[in-house]
């Protein structure tokens, strides 16, 4: 077997994105192969028919098309605690992850931040938490500082923090996990921490904004845990979403309103079905050695333009769409309130997960959006009376007549 480098991967604090040496640091995707772990066997194509000159001592390992991760590791059932945010776009991640783990036979507790009785619990996915319970999981509520008490002193193998955006929020959870002997700590970070680049996509190892809260968390957990993994998501669609995504487009399309898109509409973004995030997290739990010490862009393997998203939504709805472009500054609107996605290329690819975990994406926006539209109609949102004050301001500014 060829010599694969065993090295603690320090993907976090990436070298400057431009190198001045003839052999710049590559995406440092080292497989963490602790010498004491004979249980990992990789069927790499090192055979007489495969030129072995491809393997260099310092290079990335063959990402073989066949990964045979030891069965024992995969079959081992874990006790997993998910500390979940009570609102926002990431809330749905914990919901899907919980259900997938339960279906795989793992034991799951979801600790939602805040109070069970709060108004925030009246929105999805929280309204569907009975599905977690009927799947055999536990749902509890509490604060990051009181995790131990809330879980009643129970011990866990794996903890996912899907709540904190900075160290203040995550440290109590991480410290508690460390003190109770949690073996694997997972963190939902964000692809939003990547520094803007002229050379998309964002790949693991690229420079991040040093002052981003998530970066501080990644640094901390890498220091205190032997086995840690950070996941950097972008936007998600999926039933049970707490935050509008495709709905923003459907709202306008079904009412025959133009869709105002800032800039050229050519901006690329990555919109994943949340099941892709859930499967990546589950694979990390079931292959902890491979996942350890890594950062994974937790996204689908395709990007879509903003105009393209509008077109796909229209196609899913079986209707036409009119797209109007505008400049938020000229019009005088807050870009973040006017449109659900960042007004720039925001495009990460899940290369590390594919190479290291053998993960495969299944998001298929054209198909997935059809299903989303069916639900949109089923819940009657297409008939709901709606106002579009910001749209109206934009359209007035660019002088577009809107059918009443």
């Amino acid at each position: 077997m060829a010599a694969l480098a065993s090295s603690s991967s320090s993907l976090l604090f990436s070298p400057p994105s431009l190198s001045s040496s003839p052999h710049p640091p590559r995406l440092s995707l080292f497989l963490s192969l602790p010498h004491s772990s004979p249980s990992l066997s990789f069927s790499l194509s090192i055979s007489s028919s495969s030129p072995s000159f491809l393997v260099k001592p310092h290079s990335t390992p063959h990402s073989a098309s066949s990964f045979s991760i030891n069965a024992a590791t995969a079959a081992e059932k874990k006790k997993v605690l998910i500390v979940n945010t009570n609102s926002g776009g990431h809330a749905i991640i914990g919901f899907y992850f919980a259900k997938e783990l339960l279906a795989s036979g793992h034991s799951v507790t979801v600790l939602t931040i805040g109070e069970e009785g709060s108004d925030k619990m009246k929105k999805p996915p929280f309204t569907r938490f009975s599905e977690i319970v009927s799947g055999g999981g536990k749902t509890v509520w509490g604060d990051p500082g009181g995790v131990g008490k809330v879980v009643g002193g129970e011990a866990f193998d794996v903890v996912l923090d899907n709540n904190g955006k900075d160290l203040d929020a995550v440290r109590p959870v991480a410290d508690w996990a460390k003190s109770t002997g949690v073996k694997q700590f997972l963190f939902i970070s964000s692809a939003g921490i990547y520094k803007p680049t002229d050379e998309p996509p964002h790949v693991e190892g690229d420079a991040v904004k040093a002052d981003a809260g998530h970066v501080g968390v990644e640094k901390y957990i890498s220091e205190i845990f032997d086995n840690w993994t950070s996941f950097r998501p972008q936007y998600m669609i999926g039933s049970g979403n707490n935050k509008d995504c495709e709905e923003w487009f459907f709202d306008r399309i079904v009412r025959d309103r133009p869709v105002p898109i800032p800039g050229s509409g050519m901006q690329l973004t990555n919109i994943s079905h949340v099941r892709d995030l859930s499967s990546m997290l589950t694979q990390a739990v079931e292959n902890p050695t491979a996942a350890s010490g890594n950062i994974f862009n937790c996204v689908s393997d395709r990007a879509v333009t903003l105009d393209g998203m509008a077109r796909l939504c229209a196609k899913a709805a079986g209707r036409e769409v009119t797209i109007m472009h505008y400049d938020p500054k000229t019009v005088g609107v807050d870009a973040r309130k006017a449109f659900p996605f960042r007004n720039m290329h925001f495009y990460a690819e899940p290369r590390a997960a594919k190479e290291i975990l053998g993960w495969k994406g299944t998001t298929n926006l054209p198909e997935d959006l059809k299903e989303r539209f069916e639900e949109y109609v089923k819940i009657g949102r297409d008939k709901k009376p709606m106002e579009f004050p910001i749209d109206d301001k934009i359209l007035e500014s660019i002088k577009v007549p809107v059918a009443v």
Partner: protein, 382 residues
């Protein structure tokens, strides 16, 4: 019988500073020798049915004297294969590359063979190839499907037909990157390439097709990086259509040559298509900046314009398609274990240091369309 073509050595004074040291020996040197150490295994007698890469093969390259083939042929000859270039002979059969040692060049020139002919003369193609009985064909310059038939007819025992296709066959899409399984466009400018792939697939031959995106590197005859270098050298602004956020992708010719080399005799490459290009993509704006950085020029002024407001006639105002155009190279990486060695700035520096920076280029600078654009934008400002 090897034909030596006398090549006048071209001396070009090294011009401006460049970012990275590079020489042709980087490509032909240490790394490659290490490759060869691993590969000195079983040598099969000629004629034995053998599809592994380790045997000496009789290889035909259709083309091979201008760009991709120049690098590919060197890899193959160095590996010990017998390589013939089929060309009309319009370009010199061999040329010493900048940075290539006299010894390496002499060694290569003494071994490379030339078959002179016009590949559109199908009868000649068939008869001349049949007479030589090649094991493998690299079709680097094929454009139309009707060019394939005579080759296949001439070589019924052909072990592998390796084709240089193009990512230009993909149907334009909002959902990117282009992957090998994506829809193709039967009406594209590259439909000849698509028809060729389809013909190969239906012919029963063992074929492999590589789809590059934009190729760059020393000796590029398509003014890709050269277009930017001309303007940077002249201290001119770079006119970029629309927002400049369009994303494209450049792949270094040496990485492409390596990919062609690596699919030889590889079972996993059999009847497969692979996108081959750089690992990262780049915006038009970013590319202008990268060219400047690679060549040691200050950051350029970029002027954006609406191409619809101009009539450029037959002239091309910008060397790239005005759309997102990039492809995932994941398949080649995971199936072949290939990976690009050059990142963008590095690769552009390599091209600059070995070509434009030495005073060589293929197309003279032509700023006609630039002046049209700049003229209009000046008028708008006043």
């Amino acid at each position: 019988m090897a034909k030596l073509v006398a090549v006048q050595p071209q001396h070009h004074p090294p011009s401006s500073l460049s970012l990275l040291p590079s020489s042709f020996s980087d490509f032909n040197g240490a790394r490659l020798r290490a490759c060869i150490q691993y590969k000195r295994k079983v040598r099969q007698p000629k004629g034995a049915l053998q599809v592994t890469a380790s045997s000496n093969k009789k290889i035909l390259i259709m083309g091979g004297t201008r760009f991709i083939g120049v690098f590919l042929s060197r890899l193959l000859v160095k590996e010990g294969h017998q390589v013939t270039l089929f060309t009309r002979g319009k370009a010199p059969i061999t040329q010493q590359l900048p940075g290539e040692s006299e010894k390496d060049y002499a060694d290569f020139s003494s071994k490379i063979l030339h078959l002179k002919g016009d590949r559109k003369d199908f009868d000649f193609v068939k008869s001349s190839l049949a007479a030589e009985d090649f094991d493998v064909v690299y079709d680097i310059n094929g454009r139309e499907a009707d060019e394939v038939g005579p080759i296949l007819d001439a070589l019924p025992k052909l072990e592998q037909y390796i084709y240089c296709s193009s990512a230009g066959v993909y149907l334009k899409s909002d959902y990117m990157p282009h992957c090998e399984t994506d829809a193709v466009d039967p009406k594209s400018r590259h439909k000849g390439k698509l028809e060729t792939e389809n013909l190969l697939a239906s012919s029963g031959v063992n074929w492999t097709s590589l789809r590059p995106v934009y190729i760059y590197g020393p000796l590029n005859y398509n003014p890709v990086e050269e277009w930017f270098f001309h303007r940077l050298k002249a201290g001119r602004p770079i006119p970029i259509p629309n927002s400049g956020m369009q994303i494209t992708q450049l792949g270094h010719v040496k990485d492409l040559a390596t990919a062609f080399f690596q699919v030889l005799g590889k079972e996993k490459a059999s009847k497969q298509v692979f996108n081959i290009s750089g690992e990262k993509y780049v915006t038009f704006n970013g590319l202008a900046k990268a060219c400047a950085k690679a060549a040691g020029f200050p950051e350029p002024e970029i002027i954006h314009y609406n191409p619809k407001e101009f009539d450029f006639g037959k002239k091309k105002a910008f060397p790239f398609r005005d759309q997102h155009y990039f492809a995932s190279v994941d398949k080649a990486k995971s199936v072949l274990g290939w990976k690009p060695e050059f990142d963008l700035v590095e690769g552009l520096a390599d091209s600059y240091n070995l070509d434009f920076g030495r005073g060589t280029f293929r197309k003279e600078a032509d700023f006609t369309t630039d002046d049209m654009i700049l003229g209009k934008s000046l008028v708008l400002q006043t």
